[in-house]
Amino acid sequence: MQEHTVKAFDEDITRLRGLIAEMGGLAEVSIEESMRALISGDEELAKVVVARDKKIDALELEVDAMAIRIIALRAPMADDLREIIAALKIGGVIERIGDYAKNIAKRVGQVEGRKRFEPLTLIPAMAEVAAEMVHDVLTAFAARDPILAREVIERDAKVDAFYESIFRNLVSYMVENPATISSAAQLLFVARNLERIGDHATNVAEMVHFAAVGTLPPER
């Protein structure tokens, strides 16, 4: 990518990209740690995840301010404009992803009888795919890589399949043993949150594609 004649413009865009990368990195860590906390019942770690969400929220405000500043002062055009609008929207989506991780962390103390639930081995595998989607879509954003963005979109089907499987599994637990309903319902929400994270990563991938080439990716 050739540099702008006005170097401060490049510095602004670099700063904006840095903020998005930082947000994404935090969200990714939160997904992983919320999983570890869930599996081991580590409520201290869950609190760390909850606390981190404030930092993610603050970064989103910084992204908004930076994007508005660039639009006002630099009047960006073409791919620059698309990238800044994408960053503005991506900031909002990552904030939501952070909220889902926080929500998972908040449920850690409400799951009992961990060893009984077979889905507890499936959920971390699902989380891994979702977290990887978040990671890769931000790599795609940084590199303006529409091909990687499309790969991320394709992976969402995997997350959806996990959700279906976990859903059926948990329902069967609830049917067989009503005493598990409360915990199983909590795990169902966890799986649902992960499924939403996958959807949001997909949305980000569409924006990355748009920023990179000016069109949305072809419908799946």
């Binding site: 004649t5 006005v6 413009f9 960006p76 791919d79 069109t215």
Partner: protein, 257 residues
């Protein structure tokens, strides 16, 4: 002269313009529609102003200038047909970078053209043309009580609108504007841009501008020129959000050169 439906107002094919041996415009083919404002953008020396001036034979006044290719107005070749140049410049009017009112009264600035082209019979008709032209140029309310004042006594923005009124007065079909706002402050610029928008549809308008923001604001079609060639031409909203050519993108995003 009536433009047939679906026929562009002006149409150029393979137009090159030379100053002596130097090729300033290289093989430009473009259709200028009557319903839109068309903007020409590009770095200094890219040939956009030279090309604009070729559209009403303004380059004829430069002895070394030579035009190749065809430029048609309503299907008629403006260089090779028996078209009268004075008549052509009435049909294809021009507004320049620096406002250039005649050192005469405001009234005379407008009345001069219609008078020499015989567009008015008698004083009453001439008065009507002057008022209508000044109204269309959004200047009437500001000058109606001092029509006998000198045109040069107006502010820069008013002078430019006076020049637009003067161009309108001879009932042109096309108005060419060569950086019409580059000598004006932002408020006067906004007034000219608003005027351009009001005139859109009534005349085919072509504007050369160094301000990409201005091109984005006032035009529906944009052509990007570079090193004498027309690199890209298309819908303004497309050019500024998703240009096809890398050279266009580098220029409009501020990466050129």
């Amino acid at each position: 002269m009536v433009t047939k439906p679906n026929q562009p107002k002006m149409s150029t094919r393979g137009v090159s313009v030379y100053y002596a041996d130097k090729k300033a415009v290289d093989d430009v083919s473009i259709d200028i529609p009557s319903e839109f404002v068309t903007a020409f953008i590009g770095p200094s020396g890219c040939g956009k102003s030279t090309f604009l001036r070729a559209l009403n034979r303004m380059n004829d006044t430069i002895p070394s200038a030579r035009v190749e290719g065809t430029i048609e107005l309503d299907g008629e070749d403006i260089y090779r047909s028996k078209m009268d140049v004075v008549q052509l410049r009435a049909r294809v009017g021009m507004v320049f970078q620096k406002p250039n009112p005649f050192p005469k009264s405001i009234y005379e600035n407008i009345a001069y053209g219609p008078r020499i082209h015989g567009l008015a019979e008698g004083r009453a008709e001439l008065d009507a043309i002057v008022e209508k032209s000044l109204r269309r140029a959004g200047l009437w309310d500001e000058v109606k009580d001092r029509l006998s004042d000198s045109g040069t006594a107006l502010s820069g923005g008013q002078q430019q609108r006076l020049c637009i009124a003067r161009a309108i007065a001879v009932q042109p079909e096309v108005i060419l504007m060569d950086e019409p706002c580059s000598a004006l402050d932002p408020i006067a610029t906004a007034k000219i841009e608003e005027l351009i928008d009001e005139l859109r549809g009534r005349y085919a308008i072509v504007i050369v501008t160094h301000s990409m923001q201005q091109a984005a604001r006032v035009s529906q079609r944009t052509a990007f020129f570079h090193l004498g060639k027309m690199v890209e031409y298309g819908e303004t909203s497309e050019i500024f959000t998703n240009p096809r050519e890398v050279r266009t993108k580098d220029y409009i995003t501020g990466r050129y050169g």
